[in-house]
């Protein structure tokens, strides 16, 4: 097993494509997306009960080598600034296969 950083980004569903684009452009190995996340934060309740995706979040999870962390975080931060949401980073082990 190999030490990696586990980054999870929860932000407005409208930015999902943008987050993925940023990760792609940084050349990360991969990422996973859970759409249809609701929640509450500074900007109020995102109850997801709308006809549009306006009040909904999504979660993007990516595991990356520790040395890539700061690049990714720097690239994601402007999106969070613009749109709100959170980005959590934790340590994990990656099961090689």
């Amino acid at each position: 097993m190999q030490a990696i950083k586990r980054i999870e980004i929860i932000t407005d569903a409208l930015e999902t494509r943008e987050v993925c684009r940023v990760l792609d452009s940084l050349g990360v190995n991969g990422y996973s997306v859970v759409r249809d996340v609701t929640g509450r934060g500074e900007r109020g309740v995102q109850s997801g009960d709308e006809l549009t995706d306006v009040f909904k979040n999504s979660l993007v999870l990516t595991a990356c080598p520790p040395e890539r962390l700061s690049d990714i975080v720097d690239a994601i931060r402007p999106i969070l600034k613009r749109r709100g949401g959170i980005c959590l980073v934790s340590d994990a082990q990656w099961v090689m296969h």
Binding site: G44, V45, L51, P78
Partner: protein, 323 residues
């Protein structure tokens, strides 16, 4: 105001189902139209109304009055958001004013459909090409709204979306696309296509509308209850806008010499506000504007107002002046 119109509007199944949904939300029932059923219903309604409009267009062919009306519709779609912005900018700030302007400059397809249903019930004829007017009036407001926001300096820090994406969002968003596309298919296939699709596009249409209005009742009442950002100025505008825009619509319809049915539809297009396509676009294009303001204004105040009071009121006014 002729009370029989009011009664026949309020006692029609779609409006009653809207009330039922609102009541469920108000009594905090756990009733829910689960996702993605509302999206499916919305798609279906646009497809059906577009297709039927296209078939009518195929039947009627190009008429002079149609072309003039479409021109007027386009003009309104450009002028109305500018006017709204001018009125609101001081009160709401540039970003919110621009977003509200776009919202009210565009149209609500469901309000239009409810009006068509009401006309059918009262057996007042209307033209199929009014659907084309609706399609024309959906997108311009988005572009105008964004232009206004950028021109008058809404802070664009963190602005990530270029004009290409924006225009695509305005003209090719799912709602506009299905509406226009189905209309074109209706024009191409004409009456033979209609025969094939009638049980789908006409037969179950009113039932599907009822189901969708049940959901809109739920969603709009819940959104109203959850909206912390709405203040008196927003609520006031959300009631005043349909009245003022509706009056403008009646006036234009009168000048254009439209029949009673078409006049009502034109008025409804002016008086209604978008709560699907425009909010999604505004959210991308003017992130500084607060969706907690423009969404509940359009969805939770103006939409119910139009469906419940607006339609019979506009029709009464039209009946008065046209006779």
């Amino acid at each position: 105001m002729d009370t029989s119109i009011l009664v026949s509007s309020l006692a029609s199944p779609p409006v009653l189902f809207f009330f039922l949904g609102a009541l469920a939300a108000w009594l905090r029932s756990d009733l829910e139209i689960p996702q993605p059923v509302p999206k499916l219903l919305s798609l279906y309604l646009l497809l059906a109304i577009g297709f039927k409009g296209g078939v009518e267009l195929n039947r009627s062919g190009l008429e002079t009055q149609m072309l003039i009306t479409l021109g007027a519709a386009l003009l309104v779609a450009v002028a109305m958001p500018i006017g709204t912005f001018v009125v609101l900018r001081k009160r709401l700030g540039t970003a919110n004013a621009a977003a509200v302007a776009a919202t009210y400059g565009s149209v609500s397809a469901v309000t239009f459909i409810t009006a068509v249903t009401l006309l059918g019930q009262l057996q007042i004829p209307s033209s199929g090409w009014m659907v084309a007017a609706m399609a024309l009036m959906e997108s311009p407001a988005i572009v105008i709204g964004v232009l206004l926001a950028r021109r008058f300096g809404a802070n664009e820090e963190g602005h990530a979306h270029g004009w290409g994406e924006l225009l695509r969002e305005a003209f090719f968003n799912g709602s506009v696309f299905v509406l226009v596309g189905s209309m074109v298919i209706g024009v191409i296939t004409g009456p033979s296509g209609e025969t094939a699709l009638a049980p789908f596009t006409s037969g179950i249409f009113k039932g599907m509308l009822c189901l969708f209005l049940l959901d809109l009742g739920l969603v709009s009442a819940r959104r109203l209850a959850a909206s912390r950002e709405l203040r008196a100025v927003h609520c006031g505008y959300a009631i005043a806008a349909p009245l003022v825009h509706g009056a403008i619509g009646v006036a234009i319809a009168w000048l254009l010499g439209l029949g009673r049915g078409d006049a009502l539809l034109f008025t409804v297009l002016c008086a209604s506000a978008s709560y699907i396509a425009v909010p999604a676009a505004m959210r991308l294009a003017i992130p500084q504007a607060s969706p907690g303001i423009y969404v509940p204004m359009a969805l939770a105040i103006t939409f119910p107002f139009n469906v419940v009071f607006g339609l019979p009121l506009y029709l009464a006014v039209i009946n008065h002046f046209w006779s």
